[in-house]
Subunit: 474 residues, 4 copies
């Protein structure tokens, strides 16, 4: 029967991420692990027949997924099936001594997780660098900031980008801290007490410890658990998946904002040569990459729920009710975030902003954008703050209503405010305030600078990220 | 690069479910849809060159996924890619007239959903029938009912099963009601107004309506939307996925209870010949199928969250931020539930209960199980209800503590209660009450009968379900 | 210490909904239930001292929450605390005979759920009626439909509303079907076998059945479970909460779309006299009610997850791990939806659309909105569909780019298309097509009519809903 | 109308946690913040009338919630309502100059969050200390470890506890790292550019910076954002709530395991004097506190979903669609975790383990628990690992079946294995292996020691946690 591909891997994830989670890739990781254990056991004095290690190494890459599946149908035990296949290929039964299945699978899966985290970290660094670059380029371009989706005050396009950059940076720091303390389960045996390792070495605790260390060295993870059962605490998987989700938030907010700006023709995610926007409406240039980013973000919310199911549900020393969940959520969450990051990096490279259009919008809203400035000056002129607020509101709302109703075609708020003696300012002063407001983007440029400074050390640490180019996206 | 299979499809879902969601299967569904539209357009008088329909039909099954993917890399539009491929194969450009992409994809995906629902309904019927059968077989086997995981009163094994059957039946009825009203989007055009259909027929509303009806007939779904945008309301997808989740709940509770019973050696899910429980501990007979059912149930919780993201997020007439989410959650939720049902049906066929062990447990707890009976008789004898409760509690707790501390080895609660004059019953009467309680399973048998009666009409409606045998599970 | 109010109840829910879930309201419901059981037991021949029923009835409404809390601190059992309080007030110990706590609490909570569902159903009916009314009023007002947030084709404002109405209608029908089959647990005893009821009546199954029926009659719910444990299947709670969530989706999409339209000054949710948009920016008219609707919708997503935790987690005959979850999620989900519906009804009453602004937008986009019409005519003129699509796309994208870059100030797409001989149409014909497109809203009006027809029987069934006026919202 | 209390606060949360989130407590925090800003503005040279600061300070604690609510009904703006109330009380209009609402609310809410995190951290420290103490006390008590809920090998009770302790420790470290980098929004103005602050000081950036710093000092949080919009990135709230969830996982697994052990009468959560287990069955001693812990854990899963809705959904510079969500999820998640921790600390103090019962269970399973030891010795004796596994499995399964079927009453696995020549061991050797296995708890004691060592520095840092006694729980 035709195989059903994993759609997240097939359509969206990058080559390196797929490699980590490919079925045969995983089997090779397991075989390397078994061989590492065997070698360490031999070094520690366990009798291993001459040629056995070499025999296993010789067939390490001979992965036949179908054959393994057939074996599993009989044993109903996936590790047993993979063990028998490897042993039969090598013609030896020397592996897995003193091990339970989880001594193998927990460690290999943690290796997959950690390598994926490394891949993600590099891409997030690349995204921060690209975003910072774009923000600096556009730090002085004034745009109409919106709150509640309504024109509020001026900001700059670069500053707008850094809000989302700051979001991503926060998540990056969490990822970093997670990775620094990520603990591996190690060789702890069937119920976590290392009983079988100790039996193997006739109770020699030094040798059992040495074996555990040798395994740790083979894996290369930064920390290790002391006290586990058959499984490590599944809340660690939740920690990972929720960190991935957090990394999706900044890009998702940026994507959503770009979709809004595209609706006002102020900016767009770019449009590739040959691209089709709509099969029906030839004029369409859709924010489909940004929409896809929002889609990945929603998927990851589901993964957070799935991963949350793993934590706090350990019965005694553990079981496999988590097994199928982890088979799905661990690779899929990485595929989804990887697809999101590839898409996001593409958007960061291709996005466009249209200065003529942003200037037009700014001009349209300027009298409104200046109401806080007027408010402030009125207060300085001795009007009570809440009273001034009321007066300005009265005129601003009336102007807005008249514009919407087509009663006036030009924003005449300045005149209205000038004519109201309660404000104690007069038309000239108000027009001057509004005129000055045209350039008032406050600390925006300075803030972009501070953001860029925070990205500098990341660019130094992740050299390859600086020039990372995303794969072509569908 | 090696393809990454969808793990839910690859390891757990049944053949028929995989067929519905396979990439090439979907493309054939789309082509059938396009041809049906073309034929209907020709019937309604649109000019279609001679031989065009036949040319499309001739190449309908020539599906080359790689070629389509290549096209999509250029157009960045999946439907456009599939359309061009099909047209080039046939040597015509006659399809998709007056259609937008969603006129195709919405309808085809709804067809996939509906066929999957039919498949699921049949399996749930099979599960209800199998469960009812098993419950009737064991309706008189007394077991110790537990609340708070502590021995409470007697029930029967069959009655215990029907609690979970009733849960599943509730979900079955919800599924049935969902299916009966499941509305298809139909041909509504780019923004839902059918403008392009009307243009195609020079404003002839009768012809546009006739075309929409012809399409509806081709699809065969039970109802239709009137007012949609480019997309149908995504809350319908949530409706589907949450119904699937609900179907998982009864089996999940049964599985969890069977895992608990296995821990007490009272019952098990069965153990296939050749099966291995643990690669380290040869004696293990694990409830791995039940654990897997609980795993699927947890996955579906994640799918519910994912699907909930689809509802209530429509901007104007719609966009594709839902696209990648639906690509993942629709097939995966069906695969997960299908895998769960296949596993559940296997458990229902292979499960075992051990009457010698349940009898032993009943005997052990009998004096405790009888405390409500004693309470009731004491009340009848004139003791205040709350006072009698207090007296019995005092002795029962003391007995339990002494047993746990090893101070006594036999449950002597009867003697203790008999010796306490506050209860006004005396040892003989109390022993008689306890002895009688040995068989008091209340309405259990009658309740099983009522459940079985409710399953009868289902068995009549779903004839093939009666003898459905699940596929071999991994 | 100052009590912390439930913020959903305190700020947003309506009076009638709060009444159902108030602490003392619930206690009265319980006492009524206990008295109903006592009366039925007396009627069936159980000895009840003269005056006992009257004594209980006399103190039924004397609810002292503090006194009950003090009792619970000792018993650590909430029902026991409430039972003792009621009995001490009445000076009798006649209640709760043959009952376990769940015989009381399950049924009373189901009553609260069902009455809340009735309240919700009435408000949803009111919302459908109000929406239908508004849609009919505005069914002919042409607006620019958007897909991907980009101008696509014309539709009408009324038609846009009905998309969300159809969404809500779907959910309404699901609610209705849920309510029709909502089964009550009834008097089933400590482990679901009715053992204690049977003991009470010396094994007389008729009397036990009669008691259960009497209770069912008191509660008045439409259906009943046969086979339960100590608890009814918790998937029923999920069914309820997911139905509530689904009801939130249509309003949430409408609210989001209104927020988008407000950003373009095309429509607004209205603005009450005295209202303040921003404490800093006096000109702001924010879509705060619509934003709040989206907030409630997000909260309900969390409630769906919470409720999903209840299903599929029954150990044996049940326990109270669900207790605290249900204490939170059942009232809170109803409060959230109730708050959403009150807000939504307010928005439906106060929303405004600005025809001058929508006309302006339509004019601006008209040449683009007409590209499908041009495409169709080109096909009729003998151009291949995919070729025509390519030609139009080329010119449309160029025009859009020139507009955004400020190179042109008027949309000259018609001229460009007319000058391209590949389209075989010529400028005059193209201008005619575009001019005609100005009024082409397809089946929009007809579709609004069909929606309105579907609401008519609801308005007939829910008479009070027709004129329902929401409470003042914060 | 009767107020509906927040059930999580009312029944479960501790006094100090309720204090942080009480409505009037929050208003006082806001007023303190406003006064701090006013003072700093005066210090930086803004004109503030003599006596204004004192006037505000004098009425700071006069909180009238009803009066504020009335104002909000008119303004439909909660901050405006609270501002007007405070100003009217003081008889001045000097507050909120240059501020937008979010300059107030964001910072005050972050203060509430941070203080709650401090409270939580202290309690988790207390839990780690209590758990470590209990684990050391019971580190040598052998119990039957279970995987898949089936007897597997020996471990010790103390070691079992540390598995869950390690889980909690992981979450504690995450919490710690989150708190160390928790950034406050500060005074950034209506769209994040500080425009109004700058206007207030006539463009003097030094003064604006000095004001922001003064505010930061008043709040006392460890870090600060540079680039925000009107709101800080909501993914930070998700970070907080997901950290809270993670803290719930270790306790939830421990609680679940204790519920399982109670079912086997091996341990219990303890039972308070006067407590009632069941209103129907006086003998019941239920794990109701552990069940409640699992309930809180489930609630927090819903909160994780709710909080995940906050991230990645920022439109432009922000809006209030997050407002109602944060009003619910921030306090409620803290209340739920606080209730969980109070309950968990109670369980850790009162839990009991029954050595007579665990010894009995160990004896019953010993021959099975020893199968890995036999397997290992057989391998040493030259039997192939997979062959030996098969032989042992054959006999172990047969023995288990015979026991369950009542065919034998004593576990005779030793004799069966001894009689099978394929194993090359003989009955004497096998009996010796099994006898030795009685004490083989591997590295359990050593592992407990390592866990205790990791808790030592926490106990030194959190001195008050060492003797923390939870409040009485319901």
């Amino acid at each position: 029967m035709e195989s059903i591909p994993n759609v997240l891997a097939d359509r969206y994830a990058s080559g390196p991420m797929k490699k980590i989670w490919s079925p045969s890739g995983r089997i090779v990781l397991e075989r390397e692990f078994w061989i590492a254990v065997l070698k360490a056991q031999a070094d520690l004095g366990l009798s291993v027949p001459a040629g056995a290690v070499e025999a296993y190494e010789a067939v390490r890459d001979q992965v036949n997924l179908e054959a393994i599946k057939k074996r599993e149908k009989i044993t109903r035990h996936d590790v047993k099936a993979r063990l028998e296949e490897f042993c039969d290929l090598a013609g030896h039964q020397q592996l897995h001594k003193g091990l339970t299945s989880r001594d193998l699978t927990e460690n290999v899966e943690q290796l997959q997780v950690y390598r994926s985290l490394e891949l993600v970290r590099g891409k997030v660094a690349a995204a921060l660098i690209a975003l910072s670059r774009k923000a600096v380029e556009t730090q002085e371009l004034p745009i109409t900031a919106r709150t509640h989706n309504v024109a509020a005050q001026l900001t700059t396009f670069g500053k707008r980008l850094t809000m989302f950059g700051e979001d991503l940076l926060l998540a990056f720091n969490r990822l970093d801290s997670l990775m620094k303390g990520y603990p591996v389960r190690g060789l702890k045996g069937a119920v976590g007490t290392q009983t079988d390792q100790l039996r193997l070495f006739d109770g020699d605790t030094d040798k059992a410890a040495a074996l555990d260390q040798a395994v740790g060295k083979h894996l290369g993870l930064p920390a290790a658990f002391d006290c586990v059962g058959q499984v490590y605490p599944r809340s660690l998987d939740f920690d990972v998946v929720s960190a991935l989700y957090q990394l999706a938030c900044g890009p998702a907010s940026l994507a959503k904002t770009l979709r809004l700006m595209a609706g006002h023709e102020l900016a767009s995610e770019g449009f590739a040569p040959g691209q089709t926007g709509s099969s029906a409406m030839p004029h369409k240039m859709n924010s489909r990459s940004c929409e896809r980013i929002n889609g990945f973000h929603h998927i990851l919310r589901g993964h957070v729920t799935m991963a949350s199911e793993l934590g706090g549900d350990q019965w005694n020393e553990g079981d496999v009710s988590c097994s199928v969940v982890r088979r799905v959520v661990l690779p899929d969450a990485f595929f989804a975030l990887d697809g999101l990051l590839e898409t996001f990096l593409t958007v960061l490279r291709q996005m466009e902003v249209y200065p003529e259009m942003t200037a037009k919008e700014n001009a349209h809203y300027l009298p409104f954008l200046s109401t806080t400035a007027v408010l402030m000056e009125a207060v300085k002129a001795g009007v009570g703050r809440e009273e001034a607020h009321e007066v300005i509101k009265e005129h601003a709302l009336a102007t807005a209503r008249d514009l919407k109703a087509g009663k006036i075609s030009r924003n005449d708020l300045a005149e209205r405010l000038g004519a109201d003696s309660r404000l104690k300012l007069g038309e000239d002063k108000i027009k001057a305030i509004i005129d000055k407001a045209k350039e008032e983007t406050g600390s925006a440029v300075k803030q972009v600078g501070r953001f860029a400074e925070k990205v500098v050390p990341i660019a130094e640490l992740f050299r390859t990220a600086v020039e990372y180019i995303p794969e072509d996206i569908l």
